[in-house]
Symmetry: C2
Subunit: 325 residues, 2 copies
Amino acid sequence: MPDAAIGLNAVIVAVTEEVPRILTVRREPPSGGPPEDALPFGPLEPETDRTLDRGLRRWVREQTGLELGYVEQLYTFGDRNRDPRESHGGPRLVSVAYLALVREVSVSGDARWRDWYEFFPWEDWRAGRPAVLERAIAPALERWAATAPEPRARQERRERAEIVFGLGGVAWDGDRVLERYETLYEAGLVPEARRDRIERGEAGSFPPDDGQPLPARAMTLDHRRILATALGRLRGKLKYRPVVFELLPPTFTLLQLQRVVEALSGVRLHKQNFRRLVENAGLVEGTGRQDSQTGGRPAELFVFRREVLRERPAPGVGLPGVRRG
Amino acid sequence: MPDAAIGLNAVIVAVTEEVPRILTVRREPPSGGPPEDALPFGPLEPETDRTLDRGLRRWVREQTGLELGYVEQLYTFGDRNRDPRESHGGPRLVSVAYLALVREVSVSGDARWRDWYEFFPWEDWRAGRPAVLERAIAPALERWAATAPEPRARQERRERAEIVFGLGGVAWDGDRVLERYETLYEAGLVPEARRDRIERGEAGSFPPDDGQPLPARAMTLDHRRILATALGRLRGKLKYRPVVFELLPPTFTLLQLQRVVEALSGVRLHKQNFRRLVENAGLVEGTGRQDSQTGGRPAELFVFRREVLRERPAPGVGLPGVRRG
DNA sequence: CTCGATATGCTCAAGATGAGCATAGGAGAT
DNA sequence: ATCTCCTATGCTCATCTTGAGCATATCGAG
């Protein structure tokens, strides 16, 4: 049975000051050149790592000094030539990606926290519909659609662009982060699409926008795809599992909770309805104590109510009162 | 970088005559003995399989003659000693499991279709709360809880049993298939738990019910765990993506649609509300033609409405009017 | 043409959601 | 002291969704 190497990637998420952040390290790209942002990653040690997530925890500890708590498997990436070294005799690299949620924010080594919306500016609707959508994405996707050879394919590309980016009257669906990234990749609007094609020797003239990638931070290899997978999964999970609390201190105000949910989902919520939902769902419990750092009337401090797991089949925060863009 | 072997597993689902079926093959267990049920599986060929799902399609074709359509990655299983051959010098085996939905039901080789509820009888609530819950599962889990060494651990086991199996007044959550299977595994109520412990040389006296596994069909290795993962994922996905239609002929009556949803989710639905939901959601479109095989008033034939993908962010069938057990 | 069976239409109460008004209770400025 | 600016928190109300069930339609079989 032929062999392959198993890699482990971690998307480590924290939210501080209303900014969702992910932990990155700096790595030289395999083809040489200046260091790029990367997710913490490393190989599984088949001899010593009893389970995949233990291997992951070991690697993260070694690279960043962080002890992970909540961890969840995301997806396994195994296309050939994810890493260009494969074409030069390297082994087939299959990577298992994980999502981790943490509270702490002190890291060591070359690790640093970055706002995840630097990598996906079009995903943050908290200040309204991002301008990059109309200004850059919509016209570039229209050029992409127009250059398809068949009328049928042009139609399909337009439809896809409208559905995933909420153009032409279609509603925005926050969870489709990965579909949006993949559409941009196929349209040649992210620099890694071009880089990958060059490395594979397929530098055709095909996608029209190769010269002007969108204003967003890139990552090494396919790490931005992994990040998009993580963001989409987390946004979805928020709605039916009480995972936000992994990102909050043990005690918090309802506005803090709301801000974290907003940071992750990328939309602003209606405050009163948010509280009603969270309280009626029995997700939280007042402590009687107050937080006077609010700059206004002091807010009550709440804790997560574990019993909710007994009472409700799928307790999550939902997104009450999303402001329609 | 040390190497490992990549395996690919397929959970292939079809629904015929209101029975959800999965495709199994017969395989000798690694330790010898009579053949057991297994999921179609085989190694990734790093040289020839460009992507993981291509490798999977190739293997399924070779083993069963089936061409897969809809395919979705489920989970990657990588614990050490999933396959006992590892302890005898074999390579570390990491398996990527996939879910596939098909319509066709003719297969070749030693492949055969099996009712998936044979493997999980407690998951089928269509004829009311399964008797095995009260008769066997609840008391066995209580024994398991009672034998925990610490009072705290006893409490935690009871709570877990109640939450995942809907005991003691907790509502049944159809999606938690995997959590239920894993609870039974830890409690020693499925034969593979005992088998794995013996193979690892840990045949302690610890779980109390080792002698009397539940009346359910087992599978080789950890394939029943993979199957539980698939069932849970499919039940969840049903609610927010129009995947049922992958299992139906292009044209169908609303009752056929309802029966397939019921077969998968394991609960009976309120008919009128189901139609209202499905029609209001714009998931289907009448064709004007009728099916007169109903044994009653002829039913209109419907088709899936692709446009729904444009209109709704998360179109799925939901489960309106679940009869509370 | 009546029975049994299923399809399909409709109603109605209860609950959830979207949106906004109104009041409460702090801190800092005047 | 009191005014002003904040944020917290309580409450209302129209609208939509859901759960449940009644009533009627339309077929085949006897």
